[in-house]
Assembly symmetry: C2
Homo-oligomer: 193 residues x 2
DNA sequence: CTCTTTCTTGAATATGCGTTCAAGATACTC
DNA sequence: GAGTATCTTGAACGCATATTCAAGAAAGAG
């Protein structure tokens, strides 16, 4: 017997960053070897192939994002305050210069969804579960009388997510802190009526 | 002497669609040959290489989009009415099943901007000029007293464009007419106060 | 009609890619 | 400590790709 030497989570996070940096197609096995420290053979043994590594990385990404979400909404603070700091956090992420500035889900959605039905299914499932979590947040805000809107929690969650998608793309053309924060504040204001 | 046989505009539009369909990296020269009807040699003679064809296609895309824009805003109708029908047109485009449902600019932005500085510059220039056109529209609406907002025309134009980016991405996960139209109407309502 | 210039063709080239596999290394079991 | 099962290694393979180029085709000039 012999156990695997590498740390699976660390490898998947490194792969995530590599895929976000160059996109799936342009990330070669050499890039992945350099990023993860794993030789091609090990990658094929552990994940079957390059696409398998992407799928595993998507799973890790989902888990990491879910944990991040919990961190913002588990504290005992007003729901809308938590939502605003969550949005600000996303803006900060867009403005950072790291490769992780992108969202792996939307990046993969743009590059692969139309060509790979399984990837598309996974991405839609992930993004839908994110939307459901955001809808719960709005529902809580309504129940707590923090928010009185003509729009339902579901409508608000859709608009919020559309806004975040828009912010992410906008940051790629004008990554200026002032403009990005202004957009985020307009979005938040419109959501809170 | 001998003139070229192919129609340059038609070739560039075919290339545009091919690139939108599969993305830049996954579109092979064989795909481009099939799409444009031009043999590899001709493509290299006319556009230098695959990247040159993309750059030329981006130029054609810009021209086509500018013409489309003129079509919506040159008629003698209230500015906000024109803007709403322009937005509805974009939603329709997102919902269509054709390969042209995507926006070549945002698709290239996602795939190439981080890796190719020249492409990035061209894309930012194109998208900025689009934003400037939208800002003019809002300025006109304000001047004509169609719209009274605390926000400037520039702020409104940025929010509008962020919204369109968001709609485009959202359509890739939930391409349902009802939801898309609802989002567009929420966006438009928020812009008009 | 003929010559010349230019465009078109598609097979050939070289490169880089994802993938495989057999040899070597390592850690656990008894 | 020997044996064994599993993991790791990296060179080798076949394939697909972007690009080139020399031969052939076509259109205009005189």
């Amino acid at each position: 017997m012999r156990n695997a030497e590498f740390n699976k989570e660390a490898v998947l996070r490194a792969a995530m960053i590599a895929f976000m940096d160059k996109g799936y197609a342009k990330t070669s096995m050499q890039d992945l070897k350099a990023a993860t420290g794993l030789h091609p053979g090990s990658i094929y043994c552990a994940f079957e192939n390059k696409r398998g590594l992407l799928l595993a990385a998507l799973g890790q990404y989902r888990a990491d994002r879910a944990e991040e979400f919990q961190h913002f909404f588990s504290a005992a603070i007003p729901t809308l305050v938590a939502l605003k700091s969550y949005l600000d956090h996303i803006v900060q992420e867009c403005l950072s210069c790291e490769a992780a500035q992108a969202c792996l889900l939307t990046k993969a959605l743009n590059e692969l969804a139309e060509q790979d039905a399984q990837v598309q299914t996974i991405l839609i499932e992930n993004l839908s579960s994110w939307q459901a979590s955001i809808a719960e947040v709005f529902h809580q805000a309504i129940v707590d009388n923090e928010l009185t809107s003509k729009r339902s929690a579901e409508q608000l969650s859709r608009f919020f997510i559309m806004g975040v998608y828009g912010l992410r793309t906008y940051a790629q053309t004008h990554p200026e802190a002032e403009i990005m924060h202004e957009l985020a504040e307009q979005l938040f204001a419109d959501l809170c009526q």
